[in-house]
Protein backbone atom coordinates (compact mmCIF):
# COMPACT_ATOMS: atom_id res chain seq x y z
CA UNK A 1 0.00 0.00 0.00
CA UNK A 2 2.57 2.51 1.11
CA UNK A 3 4.95 1.33 -1.61
CA UNK A 4 2.42 1.75 -4.38
CA UNK A 5 1.48 5.23 -3.13
CA UNK A 6 5.13 6.35 -3.16
CA UNK A 7 5.37 4.86 -6.61
CA UNK A 8 2.43 6.92 -7.77
CA UNK A 9 3.98 9.95 -6.15
CA UNK A 10 7.29 9.38 -7.86
CA UNK A 11 5.50 8.77 -11.13
CA UNK A 12 3.61 12.01 -10.67
CA UNK A 13 6.81 13.87 -9.84
CA UNK A 14 8.32 12.58 -13.04
CA UNK A 15 5.37 13.63 -15.10
CA UNK A 16 4.55 16.87 -13.32
CA UNK A 17 6.99 19.08 -15.28
CA UNK A 18 5.59 17.84 -18.53
CA UNK A 19 2.03 18.29 -17.28
CA UNK A 20 2.83 21.89 -16.35
CA UNK A 21 4.25 22.62 -19.78
CA UNK A 22 1.55 20.75 -21.65
CA UNK A 23 -1.24 23.36 -21.64
CA UNK A 24 1.04 26.08 -23.02
CA UNK A 25 2.44 23.76 -25.62
CA UNK A 26 -1.03 22.59 -26.59
CA UNK A 27 -2.17 26.23 -26.94
CA UNK A 28 0.79 27.00 -29.20
CA UNK A 29 0.31 23.85 -31.26
CA UNK A 30 -3.36 24.59 -31.80
CA UNK A 31 -3.40 28.39 -32.08
CA UNK A 32 -0.19 28.75 -34.04
CA UNK A 33 0.57 25.61 -36.00
CA UNK A 34 -3.00 24.38 -36.27
CA UNK A 35 -4.13 27.80 -37.44
CA UNK A 36 -1.34 28.03 -39.97
CA UNK A 37 -2.50 24.72 -41.47
CA UNK A 38 -6.07 26.03 -41.37
CA UNK A 39 -5.07 29.19 -43.24
CA UNK A 40 -3.13 27.08 -45.73
CA UNK A 41 -6.24 24.99 -46.34
CA UNK A 42 -8.32 28.15 -46.84
CA UNK A 43 -5.77 29.42 -49.34
CA UNK A 44 -6.38 26.28 -51.40
CA UNK A 45 -10.16 26.60 -51.23
CA UNK A 46 -12.84 28.61 -52.97
CA UNK A 47 -13.58 30.73 -49.86
CA UNK A 48 -14.84 34.23 -50.48
CA UNK A 49 -16.80 35.96 -47.74
CA UNK A 50 -16.93 32.89 -45.48
CA UNK A 51 -14.68 29.85 -45.24
CA UNK A 52 -15.71 27.15 -47.69
CA UNK A 53 -13.74 23.94 -47.65
CA UNK A 54 -13.94 23.17 -51.29
CA UNK A 55 -10.69 22.31 -53.02
CA UNK A 56 -9.59 24.81 -55.63
CA UNK A 57 -5.92 23.94 -55.96
CA UNK A 58 -3.59 26.87 -56.39
CA UNK A 59 -6.27 29.01 -57.95
CA UNK A 60 -6.09 31.64 -55.19
CA UNK A 61 -2.31 31.92 -55.59
CA UNK A 62 -2.72 32.37 -59.32
CA UNK A 63 -5.30 35.07 -58.75
CA UNK A 64 -3.06 36.65 -56.11
CA UNK A 65 -0.13 36.96 -58.47
CA UNK A 66 -2.39 38.27 -61.20
CA UNK A 67 -3.32 41.23 -58.96
CA UNK A 68 -1.64 44.54 -59.76
CA UNK A 69 -2.39 45.45 -56.14
CA UNK A 70 -0.26 42.57 -54.89
CA UNK A 71 2.67 43.69 -57.04
CA UNK A 72 2.22 47.16 -55.63
CA UNK A 73 2.32 45.69 -52.13
CA UNK A 74 5.47 43.68 -52.84
CA UNK A 75 7.16 46.64 -54.52
CA UNK A 76 6.27 48.87 -51.59
CA UNK A 77 7.55 46.32 -49.13
CA UNK A 78 10.82 46.18 -51.06
CA UNK A 79 11.17 49.99 -51.00
CA UNK A 80 10.01 50.42 -47.42
CA UNK A 81 11.86 47.37 -46.12
CA UNK A 82 15.21 48.19 -47.69
CA UNK A 83 15.15 51.86 -46.71
CA UNK A 84 13.95 50.97 -43.23
CA UNK A 85 16.66 48.37 -42.65
CA UNK A 86 19.55 50.24 -44.28
CA UNK A 87 18.85 53.68 -42.80
CA UNK A 88 17.98 52.38 -39.32
CA UNK A 89 21.27 50.48 -39.24
CA UNK A 90 23.35 53.34 -40.67
CA UNK A 91 21.79 55.88 -38.34
CA UNK A 92 21.85 53.55 -35.36
CA UNK A 93 25.53 52.73 -35.89
CA UNK A 94 26.40 56.39 -36.41
CA UNK A 95 24.65 57.48 -33.22
CA UNK A 96 26.12 54.58 -31.26
CA UNK A 97 29.67 55.48 -32.33
CA UNK A 98 29.09 59.13 -31.47
CA UNK A 99 27.66 58.20 -28.07
CA UNK A 100 30.63 55.93 -27.42
CA UNK A 101 33.04 58.90 -27.38
CA UNK A 102 32.84 59.45 -23.61
CA UNK A 103 29.85 61.72 -23.89
CA UNK A 104 29.09 63.28 -20.54
CA UNK A 105 25.36 63.72 -21.22
CA UNK A 106 24.90 60.18 -22.58
CA UNK A 107 22.39 59.44 -19.85
CA UNK A 108 20.21 62.28 -21.15
CA UNK A 109 20.63 61.58 -24.87
CA UNK A 110 20.14 57.83 -24.95
CA UNK A 111 16.54 57.87 -23.70
CA UNK A 112 15.71 60.66 -26.14
CA UNK A 113 16.74 58.53 -29.13
CA UNK A 114 14.91 55.55 -27.69
CA UNK A 115 11.55 56.83 -26.53
CA UNK A 116 9.74 56.46 -29.89
CA UNK A 117 10.07 52.70 -29.45
CA UNK A 118 7.73 52.91 -26.45
CA UNK A 119 4.96 54.40 -28.58
CA UNK A 120 2.60 52.32 -30.63
CA UNK A 121 2.65 52.52 -34.40
CA UNK A 122 -0.83 54.00 -34.25
CA UNK A 123 0.39 56.88 -32.08
CA UNK A 124 3.49 57.26 -34.25
CA UNK A 125 1.40 57.27 -37.41
CA UNK A 126 -1.04 59.80 -35.96
CA UNK A 127 1.78 62.14 -34.96
CA UNK A 128 3.53 61.97 -38.31
CA UNK A 129 0.29 62.30 -40.24
CA UNK A 130 -0.17 65.62 -38.52
CA UNK A 131 3.45 66.62 -38.93
CA UNK A 132 3.52 65.82 -42.66
CA UNK A 133 0.07 67.21 -43.45
CA UNK A 134 0.86 69.68 -46.26
CA UNK A 135 -1.87 72.13 -45.33
CA UNK A 136 -1.13 72.34 -41.62
CA UNK A 137 2.19 70.74 -40.89
CA UNK A 138 5.82 71.35 -41.59
CA UNK A 139 5.28 72.60 -45.17
CA UNK A 140 2.87 75.23 -44.02
CA UNK A 141 5.14 76.24 -41.16
CA UNK A 142 8.22 76.68 -43.33
CA UNK A 143 6.15 78.72 -45.80
CA UNK A 144 4.98 80.83 -42.89
CA UNK A 145 8.61 81.59 -42.10
CA UNK A 146 8.88 83.22 -45.50
CA UNK A 147 10.08 80.40 -47.77
CA UNK A 148 6.96 80.54 -49.93
CA UNK A 149 7.92 77.88 -52.46
CA UNK A 150 8.89 75.24 -49.89
CA UNK A 151 7.09 72.00 -50.70
CA UNK A 152 6.92 68.82 -48.69
CA UNK A 153 3.74 67.07 -49.73
CA UNK A 154 4.96 63.46 -49.91
CA UNK A 155 2.10 62.26 -47.74
CA UNK A 156 -0.47 63.02 -50.44
CA UNK A 157 1.65 62.15 -53.48
CA UNK A 158 1.11 58.58 -54.72
CA UNK A 159 4.70 58.30 -55.93
CA UNK A 160 6.22 59.51 -52.66
CA UNK A 161 3.82 58.41 -49.90
CA UNK A 162 5.66 55.15 -49.23
CA UNK A 163 8.73 57.19 -48.28
CA UNK A 164 6.77 58.93 -45.53
CA UNK A 165 6.00 55.48 -44.11
CA UNK A 166 9.74 54.80 -44.15
CA UNK A 167 10.49 58.12 -42.41
CA UNK A 168 8.05 57.45 -39.58
CA UNK A 169 9.24 53.86 -39.26
CA UNK A 170 12.88 54.91 -39.10
CA UNK A 171 12.11 57.54 -36.48
CA UNK A 172 10.46 54.85 -34.41
CA UNK A 173 13.07 52.10 -34.61
CA UNK A 174 16.49 53.67 -35.19
CA UNK A 175 17.03 54.43 -31.49
CA UNK A 176 16.52 50.79 -30.69
CA UNK A 177 19.10 49.80 -33.29
CA UNK A 178 21.46 52.37 -31.77
CA UNK A 179 21.04 50.69 -28.39
CA UNK A 180 21.86 47.29 -29.89
CA UNK A 181 25.05 48.66 -31.42
CA UNK A 182 25.97 50.53 -28.27
CA UNK A 183 25.66 47.31 -26.29
CA UNK A 184 27.87 45.66 -28.91
CA UNK A 185 30.48 48.43 -28.72
CA UNK A 186 30.59 48.24 -24.94
CA UNK A 187 31.26 44.55 -25.16
CA UNK A 188 34.43 44.94 -27.23
CA UNK A 189 37.67 44.30 -25.40
CA UNK A 190 39.32 47.70 -24.96
CA UNK A 191 42.83 46.23 -24.66
CA UNK A 192 42.73 45.31 -28.32
CA UNK A 193 41.77 48.84 -29.29
CA UNK A 194 44.50 50.31 -27.11
CA UNK A 195 47.03 48.07 -28.83
CA UNK A 196 45.84 49.30 -32.20
CA UNK A 197 46.16 52.94 -31.18
CA UNK A 198 49.65 52.31 -29.85
CA UNK A 199 50.45 50.97 -33.32
CA UNK A 200 49.43 54.36 -34.61
CA UNK A 201 46.15 53.53 -36.33
CA UNK A 202 43.77 56.48 -36.68
CA UNK A 203 40.40 56.19 -34.97
CA UNK A 204 38.66 56.03 -38.36
CA UNK A 205 40.83 53.07 -39.36
CA UNK A 206 40.20 51.39 -36.01
CA UNK A 207 36.45 51.61 -36.48
CA UNK A 208 36.56 50.49 -40.08
CA UNK A 209 39.04 47.65 -39.67
CA UNK A 210 38.46 46.40 -36.13
CA UNK A 211 35.33 47.67 -34.41
CA UNK A 212 32.72 47.35 -37.15
CA UNK A 213 33.80 43.80 -38.10
CA UNK A 214 33.52 42.86 -34.42
CA UNK A 215 29.93 44.11 -34.39
CA UNK A 216 28.85 41.38 -36.79
CA UNK A 217 26.43 39.73 -34.33
CA UNK A 218 24.77 43.08 -33.64
CA UNK A 219 24.40 43.70 -37.39
CA UNK A 220 22.85 40.28 -37.84
CA UNK A 221 20.36 40.76 -35.00
CA UNK A 222 19.45 44.22 -36.26
CA UNK A 223 18.79 43.00 -39.80
CA UNK A 224 16.69 40.09 -38.55
CA UNK A 225 14.61 42.20 -36.19
CA UNK A 226 14.07 45.00 -38.70
CA UNK A 227 13.26 42.70 -41.62
CA UNK A 228 10.77 40.87 -39.49
CA UNK A 229 9.19 44.13 -38.32
CA UNK A 230 9.01 45.46 -41.88
CA UNK A 231 7.14 42.40 -43.14
CA UNK A 232 4.71 42.51 -40.24
CA UNK A 233 4.12 46.25 -40.11
CA UNK A 234 0.48 47.04 -40.56
CA UNK A 235 -0.54 49.60 -37.95
CA UNK A 236 1.88 52.27 -39.11
CA UNK A 237 0.52 52.31 -42.65
CA UNK A 238 -3.07 52.23 -41.46
CA UNK A 239 -2.57 55.15 -39.08
CA UNK A 240 -0.36 57.21 -41.37
CA UNK A 241 -1.83 56.82 -44.85
CA UNK A 242 -4.57 54.19 -44.60
CA UNK A 243 -2.84 52.47 -47.53
CA UNK A 244 -3.41 55.49 -49.75
CA UNK A 245 -3.45 57.77 -51.56
CA UNK A 246 -5.21 55.25 -53.78
CA UNK A 247 -3.26 52.09 -53.09
CA UNK A 248 0.12 53.85 -53.08
CA UNK A 249 1.20 52.57 -49.67
CA UNK A 250 -0.30 49.10 -49.84
CA UNK A 251 1.85 46.49 -48.12
CA UNK A 252 1.31 42.72 -48.01
CA UNK A 253 -0.08 43.13 -44.48
CA UNK A 254 -2.72 45.69 -45.52
CA UNK A 255 -3.44 43.73 -48.69
CA UNK A 256 -4.17 40.61 -46.66
CA UNK A 257 -6.50 42.45 -44.33
CA UNK A 258 -8.53 44.20 -46.98
CA UNK A 259 -8.86 41.19 -49.28
CA UNK A 260 -9.94 38.98 -46.41
CA UNK A 261 -12.22 41.22 -44.42
CA UNK A 262 -13.51 43.95 -46.69
CA UNK A 263 -13.27 42.61 -50.24
CA UNK A 264 -14.56 39.10 -49.45
CA UNK A 265 -11.70 37.30 -51.16
CA UNK A 266 -10.77 35.08 -48.24
CA UNK A 267 -8.85 32.50 -50.30
CA UNK A 268 -6.72 35.22 -51.90
CA UNK A 269 -6.20 36.87 -48.51
CA UNK A 270 -5.13 33.52 -47.03
CA UNK A 271 -2.76 32.95 -49.93
CA UNK A 272 -1.14 36.34 -49.30
CA UNK A 273 -0.82 35.47 -45.59
CA UNK A 274 0.93 32.23 -46.51
CA UNK A 275 3.37 34.12 -48.73
CA UNK A 276 4.11 36.49 -45.83
CA UNK A 277 4.66 33.52 -43.53
CA UNK A 278 7.08 31.98 -46.02
CA UNK A 279 8.98 35.25 -46.23
CA UNK A 280 9.36 35.41 -42.46
CA UNK A 281 10.19 31.73 -42.15
CA UNK A 282 12.94 32.14 -44.75
CA UNK A 283 14.55 34.73 -42.46
CA UNK A 284 13.74 33.37 -39.01
CA UNK A 285 14.19 29.61 -39.34
CA UNK A 286 17.90 29.64 -40.26
CA UNK A 287 18.53 32.34 -37.67
CA UNK A 288 16.72 30.58 -34.82
CA UNK A 289 18.33 27.30 -35.82
CA UNK A 290 21.82 28.71 -35.53
CA UNK A 291 20.96 30.55 -32.29
CA UNK A 292 19.62 27.40 -30.65
CA UNK A 293 22.57 25.35 -31.78
CA UNK A 294 24.93 27.90 -30.35
CA UNK A 295 23.09 27.72 -27.04
CA UNK A 296 23.64 23.97 -27.05
CA UNK A 297 27.40 24.28 -26.95
Amino acid sequence: MSISSTDTRRGLQDWLPRLVLAPSFALVLFFVYGFIVWTAVLSLSTSRILPVYKWAGFDAYERLFAQPNWYMALKNLAIFGSLYIVICIALGLFLAILLDQKIRIEGVLRPIYLYPMALSFVVTGTAWKWFLNPGMGIQNTVRGWGWESFTFDWLVRPDMAIYTVAIAGIWQASGFVMAMFLAGLRGIDSEMLKAATVDGASSFTIYRRIVIPLLRPAFLSAVIVLAHMAIKSYDLVIALTGGGPGNATELPSTFMYSYTFTRSQMAVGSASAMIMLMGIAAIMVPYLYSELREGQR
Binding site: L27, V32, L98, F176, R186, T197, D235, L277
Partner: protein, 295 residues
Protein backbone atom coordinates in the same frame (compact mmCIF):
# COMPACT_ATOMS: atom_id res chain seq x y z
CA UNK B 1 25.82 49.89 -19.37
CA UNK B 2 29.40 48.73 -18.82
CA UNK B 3 32.25 50.68 -17.38
CA UNK B 4 34.55 50.27 -20.35
CA UNK B 5 36.09 53.58 -21.24
CA UNK B 6 36.19 54.40 -24.89
CA UNK B 7 39.81 53.65 -25.61
CA UNK B 8 39.50 55.18 -29.03
CA UNK B 9 38.29 58.54 -27.87
CA UNK B 10 41.06 58.71 -25.30
CA UNK B 11 43.72 57.74 -27.76
CA UNK B 12 42.63 60.06 -30.52
CA UNK B 13 43.09 62.90 -28.09
CA UNK B 14 40.37 65.29 -27.05
CA UNK B 15 40.72 67.71 -29.90
CA UNK B 16 38.33 70.52 -29.05
CA UNK B 17 37.07 70.74 -32.62
CA UNK B 18 36.18 67.04 -32.61
CA UNK B 19 34.30 67.37 -29.37
CA UNK B 20 32.28 70.32 -30.65
CA UNK B 21 31.31 68.45 -33.82
CA UNK B 22 30.36 65.29 -31.90
CA UNK B 23 28.28 67.09 -29.32
CA UNK B 24 26.72 69.26 -32.01
CA UNK B 25 25.61 66.25 -34.04
CA UNK B 26 24.26 64.44 -31.00
CA UNK B 27 22.23 67.46 -29.90
CA UNK B 28 20.85 68.06 -33.40
CA UNK B 29 19.71 64.45 -33.60
CA UNK B 30 18.17 64.67 -30.14
CA UNK B 31 16.20 67.71 -31.33
CA UNK B 32 15.00 65.82 -34.42
CA UNK B 33 13.90 62.83 -32.36
CA UNK B 34 12.05 65.07 -29.91
CA UNK B 35 10.27 67.21 -32.51
CA UNK B 36 7.27 64.94 -33.18
CA UNK B 37 6.60 64.57 -29.46
CA UNK B 38 6.91 68.31 -28.98
CA UNK B 39 4.55 68.98 -31.88
CA UNK B 40 2.01 66.49 -30.52
CA UNK B 41 2.15 68.00 -27.06
CA UNK B 42 2.01 71.63 -28.09
CA UNK B 43 -0.78 71.01 -30.63
CA UNK B 44 -2.82 69.27 -27.95
CA UNK B 45 -2.80 72.47 -25.88
CA UNK B 46 -3.73 74.82 -28.72
CA UNK B 47 -7.16 76.06 -29.75
CA UNK B 48 -8.34 75.23 -33.28
CA UNK B 49 -8.06 78.91 -34.29
CA UNK B 50 -4.46 78.98 -33.27
CA UNK B 51 -3.76 75.76 -35.19
CA UNK B 52 -5.23 77.25 -38.37
CA UNK B 53 -2.94 80.21 -37.84
CA UNK B 54 0.05 78.11 -38.82
CA UNK B 55 3.33 77.40 -37.07
CA UNK B 56 3.26 73.84 -35.71
CA UNK B 57 6.64 74.35 -34.08
CA UNK B 58 5.42 77.26 -31.95
CA UNK B 59 4.45 76.89 -28.33
CA UNK B 60 0.76 77.42 -27.60
CA UNK B 61 0.03 81.12 -27.05
CA UNK B 62 -3.02 80.42 -24.89
CA UNK B 63 -2.55 76.93 -23.47
CA UNK B 64 -5.87 75.20 -22.94
CA UNK B 65 -6.66 71.74 -21.59
CA UNK B 66 -9.99 71.76 -23.44
CA UNK B 67 -8.75 69.36 -26.19
CA UNK B 68 -7.63 66.85 -23.53
CA UNK B 69 -11.02 67.04 -21.82
CA UNK B 70 -12.80 66.58 -25.14
CA UNK B 71 -10.57 63.68 -26.16
CA UNK B 72 -11.14 61.99 -22.81
CA UNK B 73 -14.85 62.59 -22.35
CA UNK B 74 -16.80 63.89 -25.33
CA UNK B 75 -15.07 63.33 -28.67
CA UNK B 76 -17.08 61.28 -31.16
CA UNK B 77 -15.84 57.82 -32.07
CA UNK B 78 -18.18 56.09 -34.46
CA UNK B 79 -21.70 57.00 -33.46
CA UNK B 80 -21.12 57.66 -29.78
CA UNK B 81 -19.66 60.85 -28.42
CA UNK B 82 -18.25 59.84 -25.07
CA UNK B 83 -14.56 60.27 -25.77
CA UNK B 84 -11.87 57.65 -25.44
CA UNK B 85 -12.13 56.99 -21.72
CA UNK B 86 -14.14 53.79 -22.15
CA UNK B 87 -11.60 52.41 -24.62
CA UNK B 88 -8.75 53.44 -22.35
CA UNK B 89 -10.21 51.28 -19.59
CA UNK B 90 -10.88 48.51 -22.12
CA UNK B 91 -7.16 48.46 -22.78
CA UNK B 92 -6.41 48.18 -19.08
CA UNK B 93 -8.96 45.42 -18.57
CA UNK B 94 -7.28 43.59 -21.43
CA UNK B 95 -3.65 44.25 -20.58
CA UNK B 96 -3.63 43.41 -16.85
CA UNK B 97 -4.91 39.81 -16.99
CA UNK B 98 -3.12 39.10 -20.26
CA UNK B 99 0.23 40.21 -18.83
CA UNK B 100 -0.23 38.36 -15.53
CA UNK B 101 -1.32 35.08 -17.09
CA UNK B 102 1.28 35.03 -19.86
CA UNK B 103 4.07 35.94 -17.42
CA UNK B 104 3.06 33.25 -14.92
CA UNK B 105 2.88 30.59 -17.63
CA UNK B 106 6.16 31.78 -19.12
CA UNK B 107 7.89 31.44 -15.74
CA UNK B 108 6.66 27.88 -15.29
CA UNK B 109 7.57 26.95 -18.86
CA UNK B 110 11.04 28.43 -18.54
CA UNK B 111 11.51 26.51 -15.30
CA UNK B 112 10.53 23.20 -16.87
CA UNK B 113 12.58 23.78 -20.01
CA UNK B 114 15.78 24.44 -18.06
CA UNK B 115 15.55 22.46 -14.82
CA UNK B 116 13.31 19.51 -15.72
CA UNK B 117 14.42 18.72 -19.22
CA UNK B 118 12.88 15.79 -20.98
CA UNK B 119 13.64 14.19 -24.33
CA UNK B 120 12.51 16.57 -27.04
CA UNK B 121 12.64 19.70 -24.90
CA UNK B 122 14.63 21.47 -27.58
CA UNK B 123 11.99 20.80 -30.20
CA UNK B 124 9.26 22.07 -27.88
CA UNK B 125 11.20 25.24 -27.20
CA UNK B 126 12.03 25.73 -30.87
CA UNK B 127 8.37 25.48 -31.83
CA UNK B 128 7.37 27.95 -29.12
CA UNK B 129 10.15 30.33 -30.15
CA UNK B 130 9.22 30.35 -33.82
CA UNK B 131 5.63 31.09 -32.77
CA UNK B 132 6.86 34.51 -31.58
CA UNK B 133 7.79 35.55 -35.06
CA UNK B 134 4.97 34.36 -37.28
CA UNK B 135 3.13 37.11 -39.12
CA UNK B 136 -0.19 37.26 -37.33
CA UNK B 137 -1.94 37.49 -40.70
CA UNK B 138 -1.40 33.75 -41.00
CA UNK B 139 -3.60 33.02 -37.96
CA UNK B 140 -6.11 35.85 -38.26
CA UNK B 141 -8.98 34.10 -40.03
CA UNK B 142 -8.99 30.89 -37.94
CA UNK B 143 -8.72 33.00 -34.77
CA UNK B 144 -11.75 35.03 -35.78
CA UNK B 145 -13.68 31.79 -36.39
CA UNK B 146 -12.65 30.21 -33.09
CA UNK B 147 -13.42 33.35 -31.08
CA UNK B 148 -16.82 33.43 -32.73
CA UNK B 149 -17.45 29.80 -31.84
CA UNK B 150 -16.38 30.41 -28.22
CA UNK B 151 -18.71 33.40 -28.05
CA UNK B 152 -15.76 35.69 -27.42
CA UNK B 153 -15.96 37.89 -30.52
CA UNK B 154 -15.91 41.59 -29.71
CA UNK B 155 -15.02 41.00 -26.10
CA UNK B 156 -12.16 41.91 -23.85
CA UNK B 157 -11.96 38.30 -22.67
CA UNK B 158 -11.37 37.25 -26.27
CA UNK B 159 -8.49 39.69 -26.62
CA UNK B 160 -7.01 38.47 -23.34
CA UNK B 161 -7.01 34.93 -24.72
CA UNK B 162 -5.40 36.07 -27.98
CA UNK B 163 -2.65 38.01 -26.22
CA UNK B 164 -1.94 35.21 -23.75
CA UNK B 165 -1.62 32.68 -26.55
CA UNK B 166 0.60 34.79 -28.79
CA UNK B 167 2.64 36.15 -25.87
CA UNK B 168 3.54 32.71 -24.50
CA UNK B 169 6.49 32.26 -26.82
CA UNK B 170 8.10 35.50 -25.70
CA UNK B 171 7.52 35.03 -21.97
CA UNK B 172 8.84 31.46 -22.19
CA UNK B 173 11.90 32.75 -24.03
CA UNK B 174 12.60 35.37 -21.35
CA UNK B 175 12.39 32.96 -18.44
CA UNK B 176 14.18 30.15 -20.20
CA UNK B 177 17.17 32.35 -20.97
CA UNK B 178 17.18 33.66 -17.41
CA UNK B 179 16.87 30.29 -15.69
CA UNK B 180 19.50 28.80 -18.01
CA UNK B 181 22.19 30.58 -16.00
CA UNK B 182 20.59 29.77 -12.65
CA UNK B 183 22.86 27.27 -10.79
CA UNK B 184 21.51 23.76 -11.31
CA UNK B 185 23.29 22.54 -8.12
CA UNK B 186 20.84 24.52 -6.00
CA UNK B 187 17.94 22.74 -7.63
CA UNK B 188 19.64 19.35 -7.31
CA UNK B 189 20.47 19.74 -3.63
CA UNK B 190 16.92 20.86 -2.93
CA UNK B 191 15.70 17.74 -4.72
CA UNK B 192 18.06 15.69 -2.59
CA UNK B 193 16.40 17.20 0.48
CA UNK B 194 13.09 15.97 -0.84
CA UNK B 195 11.71 19.24 -2.19
CA UNK B 196 9.14 18.72 -4.92
CA UNK B 197 8.59 20.45 -8.26
CA UNK B 198 6.51 23.36 -7.01
CA UNK B 199 8.43 23.80 -3.75
CA UNK B 200 11.64 24.29 -5.69
CA UNK B 201 9.97 26.77 -7.99
CA UNK B 202 8.36 28.79 -5.17
CA UNK B 203 11.19 28.71 -2.67
CA UNK B 204 14.29 28.75 -4.85
CA UNK B 205 13.73 30.10 -8.35
CA UNK B 206 10.93 32.57 -7.94
CA UNK B 207 12.52 34.61 -5.11
CA UNK B 208 15.47 35.46 -7.35
CA UNK B 209 13.41 36.10 -10.48
CA UNK B 210 12.46 39.72 -9.80
CA UNK B 211 14.62 41.23 -12.58
CA UNK B 212 13.30 38.95 -15.31
CA UNK B 213 9.72 39.32 -14.09
CA UNK B 214 10.05 43.09 -14.43
CA UNK B 215 11.50 42.79 -17.94
CA UNK B 216 8.82 40.35 -19.00
CA UNK B 217 5.97 42.42 -17.57
CA UNK B 218 7.23 45.60 -19.25
CA UNK B 219 7.71 43.89 -22.58
CA UNK B 220 4.29 42.27 -22.51
CA UNK B 221 2.60 45.43 -21.25
CA UNK B 222 4.09 47.53 -24.06
CA UNK B 223 3.35 44.96 -26.73
CA UNK B 224 -0.23 44.29 -25.69
CA UNK B 225 -1.08 47.92 -24.99
CA UNK B 226 0.31 48.93 -28.39
CA UNK B 227 -1.34 46.12 -30.35
CA UNK B 228 -3.64 47.23 -33.12
CA UNK B 229 -4.07 44.30 -35.50
CA UNK B 230 -5.76 41.93 -33.02
CA UNK B 231 -7.82 44.74 -31.56
CA UNK B 232 -9.18 45.88 -34.90
CA UNK B 233 -9.77 42.31 -36.09
CA UNK B 234 -11.47 40.84 -33.04
CA UNK B 235 -12.96 43.72 -31.04
CA UNK B 236 -14.10 46.50 -33.27
CA UNK B 237 -17.07 47.89 -31.33
CA UNK B 238 -17.60 49.04 -27.77
CA UNK B 239 -14.95 46.67 -26.46
CA UNK B 240 -12.23 47.96 -28.78
CA UNK B 241 -8.88 48.78 -27.17
CA UNK B 242 -7.39 52.25 -27.07
CA UNK B 243 -5.31 51.98 -30.26
CA UNK B 244 -8.34 51.08 -32.35
CA UNK B 245 -10.40 53.92 -30.86
CA UNK B 246 -7.60 56.39 -31.53
CA UNK B 247 -7.39 55.31 -35.15
CA UNK B 248 -11.17 55.61 -35.53
CA UNK B 249 -11.13 59.06 -33.98
CA UNK B 250 -8.31 60.32 -36.16
CA UNK B 251 -9.49 58.82 -39.44
CA UNK B 252 -13.17 59.74 -39.07
CA UNK B 253 -14.04 62.30 -41.67
CA UNK B 254 -17.27 63.78 -40.40
CA UNK B 255 -17.52 67.35 -39.18
CA UNK B 256 -14.72 69.77 -38.42
CA UNK B 257 -11.38 68.05 -37.99
CA UNK B 258 -10.21 68.76 -34.48
CA UNK B 259 -6.47 68.26 -34.75
CA UNK B 260 -5.86 69.34 -31.17
CA UNK B 261 -8.26 66.68 -29.90
CA UNK B 262 -6.58 64.07 -32.12
CA UNK B 263 -3.20 64.94 -30.67
CA UNK B 264 -4.49 64.90 -27.10
CA UNK B 265 -6.00 61.47 -27.73
CA UNK B 266 -2.71 60.25 -29.22
CA UNK B 267 -0.89 61.50 -26.12
CA UNK B 268 -3.35 59.71 -23.86
CA UNK B 269 -2.88 56.52 -25.88
CA UNK B 270 0.88 56.82 -25.62
CA UNK B 271 1.13 57.88 -21.98
CA UNK B 272 0.98 54.50 -20.21
CA UNK B 273 3.87 53.07 -22.20
CA UNK B 274 5.82 56.35 -22.02
CA UNK B 275 5.41 56.35 -18.24
CA UNK B 276 6.64 52.77 -18.06
CA UNK B 277 9.57 53.76 -20.26
CA UNK B 278 10.47 56.75 -18.09
CA UNK B 279 10.04 54.96 -14.76
CA UNK B 280 11.70 51.71 -15.77
CA UNK B 281 13.79 52.73 -18.79
CA UNK B 282 16.67 50.44 -17.93
CA UNK B 283 14.43 47.39 -17.79
CA UNK B 284 12.47 48.55 -20.81
CA UNK B 285 15.69 48.45 -22.77
CA UNK B 286 16.55 45.00 -21.51
CA UNK B 287 13.09 43.79 -22.46
CA UNK B 288 13.49 45.08 -25.99
CA UNK B 289 16.90 43.49 -26.32
CA UNK B 290 15.62 40.18 -25.00
CA UNK B 291 12.84 40.41 -27.55
CA UNK B 292 15.58 40.64 -30.14
CA UNK B 293 16.34 36.96 -29.38
CA UNK B 294 19.62 37.74 -27.65
CA UNK B 295 18.86 36.97 -24.00
Amino acid sequence: MSTRESAIATAAGPSLMNRVVIYGLLVIFAAIYLTPLFVMLSTSFKSLDEIRGGDILALPRDPTIEPWLRAWGSACIGVTCEGIKGYFWNSFRMVVPAVLISTALGALNGYVLTKWRFPGHRVVFGLMLFACFIPFQSVLIPMARVLGQLGLSNSTAGLVLVHVVYGLGFTTLFFRNYYESFPGELVQSAQMDGAGFFTIFWRILLPSSAPIIVVCVIYQFTNIWNDFLFGVSFAAGESAPMTVALNNLVSSSTGVKEYNVDMAAAMIAGLPTLVVYIVAGRYFMRGLMAGAVKG
